[in-house]
Amino acid sequence: MNIFIYEMKTYQNSIIIWSLSISALMLLFMAIYPTFAEDAALMESILSNFPEEFARAFGMGGNLSLTSVPGYFKFIFIYIQLAISIQSSNYGFHFLSVDERELTADFIMSKPVSRRKLVISKFSAAFSGLIITNTITTAAGLISIELFRNGNSYDAGNILVLMSSTFFFQLFFLSAGMLVSVSVKKIRSVLAYSMGLAFGMYIISALKEALGMKALGYISPFYHFEPGYMIEFGKYNMERASISFAFIIVSIVVSWNLYMKRDIHSL
């Protein structure tokens, strides 16, 4: 418990800042919705002259109109996911590497705690931090929608399904970060790794969306938890999400085993 509480304290500021920023971003995006919906209505009337496949190719197909709340929300949620992925990767690359980088490993590991307990405490703290952020931003999202929906209706259940997927989305980046930090000798700069991973995955998914990069798209959790499907059907796209699930399990198991045998070097 000792370690968990200490770790939570170190995340405190970060959790507050991320929660506020992501909430503000939701609010900002939803605030644009009323104006955007008007423009989009016009465009969609033009687009209706084109065949369905064509619209789909540009992410505008399906039953969700961009003028509707769910249609708009799935469109902006990608950017929320981008922010979440950066926070999660930051924590992932940070929590097991920090003691070695800042040379406090000698202190903590000469205490009577097992590595098992150390990893579990640190992992739980990082994940709790993400869950707190997630809870706050989910609330902020629902409030923003209520504030700016402009009389349009939406299915709150489907939105909640989408929001719930964030737990797994966060776990993907958290465990990927952990896996890398126990596989390399030392992580000098957490940011370099986390920005690379988060933006890399985002860009892969964005390019897949725009240009259709089939094979490569499958590695990106942005694709596994693509908002459109969940918000439209109110369930996960299991075919894709299971790739993330499998990756999360494998990386946790592998990281665990590597860390139990890891040599902790001094200065």
Binding site: L47, S189, G200, L207
Partner: protein, 264 residues
């Protein structure tokens, strides 16, 4: 001179990884082009698309079936990737002496801090040039099978110049932030989140044209591929703004870093 070499060597691994990722991404992306290239059905449809609609969905290029159109779509992602590289490089090249606890060694060498910055700046610019070079080479070689015409080459040259300018903007931002903010962890965070904010702003702008004036705050809007393709040039006003930012950033670094206390 030996500082330049040392800096180049210490960043070599990162440069290789980034180059590898960029090249792979571009090659895979361009493999998709085959499906679009000269596809008359697609071309017909796209021609009929209203410009406003395409802009709204960041389908920046006029026509996906041409090289220019296809590359345009990916261009903003090139800006982001190389921007991240540059901002991280700028921030770490200044602050890493403190991070790696080598500051006491490094800054007690018989050289002035100004000279140290110059050497680091040269090394960083070389790094950015090399990464732009790799990107250009990957893009050019994967475009070659599709008979690139003069128009494409002109577009390509401008796009790569824009890419380099954007790298310089973020490099100077990163260096200046690291010079101003003493604590290395914070300075890295600040410069990276500046980039993230700039990107989000650029997204918001494309959704709501009432806030177009925010363009000036986000380098990602300075050299939009669509504009380059249509006009065949980089917009002068943004070239000037870029120059101002770059010069301000580097000057700030030169003025502030030599005077500040080290964080040890």
């Amino acid at each position: 001179m030996n500082i330049v070499l040392r800096e180049l060597r210490s960043n070599l691994k990162s440069l290789i990884i980034w180059s590898g990722c960029m090249a792979t991404l571009i090659l895979i992306m361009m493999m998709e082009f085959e499906a679009y290239y000269d596809n008359p059905e697609m071309a017909g449809l796209l021609d009929a698309m209203p410009q406003a609609l395409m802009k709204a969905f960041s389908i920046a290029g006029p026509n996906l079936t041409t090289l220019i159109g296809f590359v345009s779509i990916a261009s903003v992602y090139f800006y982001i990737m190389l921007g991240i590289f540059a901002v991280l490089l700028g921030s770490s090249i200044i602050s890493k002496e403190e991070r790696d606890k080598t500051a006491e060694f490094f800054l007690t060498l018989p050289i002035s801090r100004t000279r140290a910055i110059s050497a680091k700046l040269i090394a960083a610019v070389i790094n950015c040039l090399l990464l732009t070079g790799v990107t250009a080479a990957a893009l050019y070689s994967s475009a070659a099978p599709y008979n690139p015409d003069q128009e494409f080459l002109r577009f390509f040259r401008l796009l790569m110049s824009a890419l380099f300018i954007i790298q310089m903007i973020f490099l100077s931002t990163g260096m200046c932030t690291a010079a101003v903010i003493k604590h290395y962890k914070k300075s890295g965070n600040y410069s990276v989140y500046t980039l993230l904010t700039a990107y989000i702003i650029s997204v918001v702008i494309s959704m709501d044209n009432k806030i177009d004036f925010l363009k000036y705050f986000t380098p990602f809007k300075y050299f939009e591929a669509q504009y380059i393709a249509a006009s065949g040039e980089l917009e002068l006003k943004y070239l000037i703004i870029s120059a101002v930012i770059i010069i301000a950033g580097f000057t700030g670094t030169y003025l502030i870093y030599p005077k500040r206390d080290l964080y040890i």
